[in-house]
């Protein structure tokens, strides 16, 4: 046989041997040493308000502002928004906001509220920029990831880890067999360690893979899911999507392909934890159909 390199298959996913089989980095990055983990807490907060978005998809900015304040104080343990932001970023940092711009994109209102909140906390406007795009993270000292919550037909879930795909400079290389390797992008020298907060726009998530949005699989969750461990946040997002799919069909409806990139981000790239039992989940506000 000409090609004897191991191939990642369904069986690896079932056996939990993804790390053994994943293969070499696309970007030529060394793998982190065994057991490497991102510093920080695996606390994930979910803040929801029934009034954040109505059935006609109108968003109440005032409600969003309150939700953001609650998110920031609960994630950081600080007493107010300003102290919360300043525990995450430095006043003179160039801060990049990284929303998702396609397939259930981040709502503009969410980005607007985050930007205003930073400015209200003393960060000059000219130090806050849109960092979505191939090389935009290079100019930033800190990144705030603000993806929209969604499933994805090539990666299972396409929320947190996939949000930095443009930083690879070659997103199409992650469309097919290498989609499990999305986590390595977070270890690029100009990205690594810069993400200070992951704030998932889960006002109106998409729970099926698409590849184009189908309104039957979009629903009002009216929440922010946040934390400083990107893999833990992604894992909680995954749990919510999985539960929603089960609710829709009345039976288990696993994501296909399975979200191998999430487990790989933990076990191979050391970005955080994908083990739900190791994640501290705290939820506030609207309880209906919490899906946890």
């Amino acid at each position: 046989m000409k090609d004897k390199k191991p191939v990642l298959t369904r069986r690896d996913f079932i056996r939990g041997t993804i790390g053994v089989t994943l293969g070499a980095s696309i970007l030529g990055l060394p793998w982190p040493s065994g057991g490497a983990k991102a510093a920080g807490s695996s606390l994930v907060t979910i803040v929801r308000d029934k009034k954040a978005m109505d059935s006609a998809k109108n968003i109440d900015i005032t409600v969003l502002e309150k939700m953001l304040t609650e998110t920031l104080t609960k994630v950081t343990g600080q007493k107010n928004t300003k102290d919360a932001w300043l525990s995450l970023v430095k006043p003179n940092d160039v801060i990049g906001l990284v929303p998702t711009d396609h397939l259930n994109p981040t709502h503009d209102e969410v980005v607007h509220v985050v930007k205003n909140s930073l400015m209200d906390s003393g960060i000059p406007e000219d130090r806050i920029r849109d960092a979505q795009g191939p090389r935009n993270a290079k100019k930033c000292d800190a990144l705030i990831a603000i993806p929209g919550l969604k499933a994805h037909w090539l990666t299972g879930i396409g929320t947190v880890l996939k949000n930095y795909i443009m930083y690879s400079g070659s997103p199409s290389r992650y469309h097919q067999s290498n989609s499990a390797k999305l986590g390595e992008i977070w270890n690029l020298p100009f990205v690594k360690g810069k993400t200070k907060l992951v704030l998932v726009d889960s006002l109106y998530p998409l729970c099926d893979k698409g590849p184009q949005p189908d309104p039957r699989y979009l629903w009002n969750y009216n929440g922010f899911i946040a934390g400083t461990d990107p893999v833990a946040v992604e894992t909680v997002c995954l749990k919510i999507i999985t539960e929603k799919r089960k609710t829709i069909r009345g039976e288990p409806w696993p994501l296909s392909p399975p979200p191998i990139c999430v487990e790989a981000a933990d076990k191979v790239y050391g970005l955080g934890t994908s083990r739900i039992e190791q994640i501290q989940i705290k939820h506030y506000g609207w309880e209906e159909e919490l899906l946890l």
Binding site: M1, P6, V7, L8, T9, R10, R11, F13, I14, R15, A56, H102, L103, H152, W153, L154, P171, S172, H175, Q176, S177, N178, S179, A180, D208, K209, G210, P211, Q212, D214, P215, R216, L218, S256, P257, P258, I260
Partner: protein, 312 residues
Amino acid sequence: MNAGKLDLPKTVGVWNRPDSSRHINSKNIFQYMNGAGELYLGYRFRHLEVFDYTSPDQGNILVELYFMENADDAFGLLSLDWGGEPVSFGGTPAATSNQFFTASTRALYGGGLMRLWSDDIYARIMAERETPTSKDAVFALGKAIAANTQQPPEPALVKILPLEIDAVWKLRVDRLSFFRSHLVLNSIYYLSHENILDFDLLTEAVSAPYEHISNSGDPKRSQFLLVQYENPERARQALNRFHDAYLPEYKKIITADTDADNQSLLKLEDGWLAYKLLGKYIAIVFECPDPESAKVILKKNESNLLKKGEGS
């Protein structure tokens, strides 16, 4: 067929479209829809025409017409999700979930989106805001697209799968999909991110679960996959590759002898797997609860294939 022949109305209710459409081909499809383009390129995609119907105050309606190489490809795109409300544009009632489901279902609606298969066209018609008025407009556009077009049968490969294996194993027709790409297979039933079954645009494949309803009410499911290659040699090569990648620790038994009981039968982490080379076809069944189930599902499908003069 082209968009001009479709005669899409300039005006539907309060919605109006421009004179010309946006034309998307395989070169610029990723600019239009990012990674979603892989789906359409996984079928035999010719081009896409996009019409934007705008209204002053009721949101827009997007019409996407995917022109495919033939009706099988258009059917395949619809077959990826049989959910939604079946829609009929002619005199016959829309299908419900029965044995003729995939043959007679031409359009499905839900949440403001209509998906339809009409000859070699797969269409998506999506209202930005779902209201009774926008639903009427979406249905009118669907009817215009389906008007004066052929209603070809479903792909021949689909009809090979028996609806019942025995008294307890039934085909989940509402989960049956037709495709040509490993990416599409993975979105239905994940095997590997690599193309371990050598799919290309000359292959045809159908996959669906067989469901076993027991007295306990806890259904067991086994996923069946049938792939047709250009010729027997391509099928043999593909099955070799599949075995090497998916079952590296198991001894390989691949012969073209369809008379013998020569399927490979293996116990894996998620149940029993059986596969068999059948001329230019490969049949594989995954996640069977026991070896007998794997054998009988494979055997019944093989019999159907032989009855249709194939698989030898």
